[in-house]
Amino acid sequence: MTRHSPGRRTDRLSRRAFLAAGAATTGALAGCIGGDDEDGNGNGGNETNGDEGDGEPSSPDVVNSSNAPTTPSVEDPPDAVYLPTHRESMEHLETVEAGEYAVMPMLTYPHKFWLVSGTEREAVTPDSTGVHLMATVWDAETGEVLPVDTGAQLRLTRDGGLVDQRAPWPMISQTMGFHFGDNVPLPEQGTYTVEFDLTPLGGDTVRKTGEFADRFTEPRTVRFEFEFDQEFQESVVNGVEYLDEDRWGEPGALDPMAGMGGMDDNGGDSGGMDDGGEGDGNGSEGGMEMSMPFSDLQPADAYPGEGLGTPTSGDAAFVVRYLTETRLTDGSSGYLLVSPRTPYNRVPLADMALSVEGALEGELVQTLDSELGHHYGIAGDLASGEQLELVVESPPQVARHRGYETAFIEMPSMGVEVP
């Protein structure tokens, strides 16, 4: 495959070479670079090189053992969504379709992310050469991103031999929303083939409603190839774009990636959040016309029914609506719809355990509706003046890219009242 084949577009949002940026700011950075995060413990044997960051920034050495650039990280970030120091660049492969699914694979350098189990967070630091491989999966018909852990798996082969097999983590990132991804070690440069298995959506994982009720029932496999070479390694590292240093760690989020559809406007309407978006250069400068949907939810006022407010917990906004006329129940009762999302970019927060106490009691069921999108719901009747308590039993069990790792972990209960 040649550098400029259509399957090989690099998202170069920035024309600023990493090297230049790094050199320009090295001196000023020194005070901002913390040690590693407090939770970067016990991560078996990665004290070696390749620790992406959190050390002295230096010019990128893409032939080191992990081809991860040394980027600064925000010292002592707030327990909230915050602006990281930089925006990553990545290579988009061509969209592949299989059955009802469309998948866009993306590649960048191995980088740090955080796993979440219960309320525990575990930093994953890259420690070997390879790629950070990602895939966004959406409904080929409606363009709706399917934002729950479907147990996807992938097999990586080279010359017909199995190199790696893994279940990529369900993840959220400010620029990509919900996707699957992992750092994948690659023994050497060359052409790799990926078979990505999509498992049926539903069962007990998520209730499907509306047009989705009978869909996504077949397992499918998509195949794609990528080239892992020096050129790729350099281009993703050189494409790193720094934010102005005085914004690092500020409340806010990077804009979704250029070309991602659906972002009518950024922040502002996600339930009365103030606009803490990245603000500058919303990514259109590269002129990329990629058609990949972004997993954003509708703003609060776009939902049907009565608004019960948009309380927040752990920096997530919870859109709470009470629907009386709805196909989401058997018709004999109303429906409490709760849609937790990230601030600014309205990325759905999947795979959490949510329940309600008070005037209505029970566990909310994770639901994916063809019109209302991802939410948690429970059937029941409510009357004006009644009080409810929304209880987050466990926070969203999705891995986090930088800037999301400190939010959505400690999530106290929220009180709401039916107006």
Binding site: S117, G118, T119, V148, Q153, T205, V206
Partner: protein, 422 residues
């Protein structure tokens, strides 16, 4: 596969690679090595045996097995699961030949892990061929996360021994490639009755063995030295295994026999060891309580003969999913125990590096295949997904295991092990 270079690997590792490679060349390399080490009665130097000493149930191994320091049965170190296809139409003479071949093996090796433990099983395809009712169903996908291949061959022989040379030699002797295994003549072989089929499954189990495979891509250096299994923890505690009685068929033509399911899995060890912390691993393999309270120790050495998941911890599985966002593999699986607390499966799984990727051949005995399916479904925990854990994520060890292949077999009682008719 080529023979490994003995100068580049440890002796034990070399022996295990020879089992994986198989064949007469591997066998003679193996005998060369073990010949100068141990006994010198010729051949593999293992104790010889007497067919009359063997119990009526093929799967009755526990009496012969040694125990670990806590008193748990210790599985044999080396395993080969030999796949066979019928090459002739069974009749009384053929049956006699087959039985004679097995009895020859029983004379060549003692009923002991230092000798040879083995079982002979038959697949649905076999019963169809001989026109008998199928006592076991065709294998099927059990969970939504898999699209496995299925064993379609006719018969299977599971060979197990603490001696690498014994499993290799017994395999070759059955197929007529070695005349006098362990110095004892084969009075008949399976040659002409069966021919070798695919896949040949091999493996090993025991403290320290997995860690010796860290040269292989996919096996990180961080596999604990003392771990008996690739995922780094002890398994097969006496208390969580079905007694042999519990897996024995009670009535009908195969009373005294059992059923065997073989599920071959690939493991993702790099993620397991290098992304998760030890506490997370303990939580995911046993239960979140084991992780939080430090109940397991490094590799499960604190657990004695029981993980303690049965009862309260298993009952709390759903609550742990919702409130802790994580459930343990053993905790989940223990929900499938009998009302009186007896586990329904006798697990005789072992590690493998077949195809040069780390994996497990999860070999399980149970009274009926239905019971396996029920326990496997419980272990998959799809009922928990969306309740604080994902289909795979934080749902026991599902994030790290990939089902490759399944097979179902009937293991008749020993007296009917040669080409059963009904």
């Amino acid at each position: 596969m080529e023979l490994p270079d003995p100068d580049e690997v440890s002796r034990r590792d070399y022996l295990r690679s020879l089992v994986a490679v198989g064949g007469t060349a591997a066998l003679s390399a193996c005998l060369d090595l073990t010949g100068d080490g141990g006994g010198d009665e010729g051949g593999s130097g293992a104790p010889t045996g007497d067919p009359a000493e063997r119990p009526a149930r093929q799967h009755a191994w526990n009496d012969a097995l040694g125990t670990d320091e806590d008193g748990n049965p210790r599985p044999p170190e080396h395993h080969v699961v030999l796949a066979l296809n019928l090459a002739t139409t069974p009749d009384a003479d053929v049956r006699k030949t087959v039985e004679t071949a097995f009895r020859s093996l029983e004379r060549a090796y003692a009923y002991d892990p230092a000798g040879l433990l083995f079982t002979v099983g038959y697949s649905p395809a076999y019963f169809e061929q001989v026109g008998a009712d199928q006592p076991v169903p065709d294998p099927e996908a059990i969970t939504t996360l898999e699209s496995p291949e299925f064993d379609g061959f006719d018969a299977v022989v599971h060979l197990a021994s603490d001696e690498a040379a014994v499993v290799l030699e017994a395999e070759e002797a059955l197929l007529g490639e070695v005349d006098e295994p362990n110095g004892v003549a084969m009075e008949a072989t399976l040659e002409g009755v069966f021919e070798r089929a695919e896949p040949r499954r091999t493996g090993f189990v025991g403290p320290g063995l997995p860690a010796q495979h860290t040269g292989l891509d996919g096996v990180p250096d961080s596999v604990p030295e003392e771990a008996p299994f690739f995922m780094g923890f002890r398994s097969g505690f006496a208390e969580s295994q079905a007694p042999e009685d519990r897996v024995t068929i009670r009535d009908g033509p195969y009373a005294g026999g059992t059923t065997m399911h073989v599920e071959s899995l690939t493991l993702q060890l790099q993620t397991w060891f290098e992304q998760d912390s030890h506490t997370q691993r303990v939580s995911k393999i046993y239960s979140p309580e084991h992780g939080e309270e430090g109940l397991a120790g490094d590799v499960g050495e604190k657990l004695g003969t029981s993980t303690g998941v049965a009862g309260e911890i298993a009952e709390r599985t759903e609550r742990d999913a919702r409130e802790r966002g994580m459930v343990g593999h053993a905790q989940k699986a223990a929900r499938a125990r009998d009302d009186d607390g007896t586990p329904p499966l006798l697990r005789r799984d072992f590690n493998t590096v077949d195809n040069e990727v780390p994996g497990v051949h999860f070999l399980s005995l149970q009274r009926s295949i239905d019971e396996f399916v029920r326990v496997r479904t419980t272990m998959a925990g799809e009922d928990l997904a969306g309740e604080g854990v994902g289909q795979r994520l934080n749902n026991g060890i599902l994030q790290y295991i990939f089902v490759r292949r399944r097979g179902n077999f009937l293991l008749p009682p020993r007296e009917d092990r040669a080409l059963p008719e009904a």
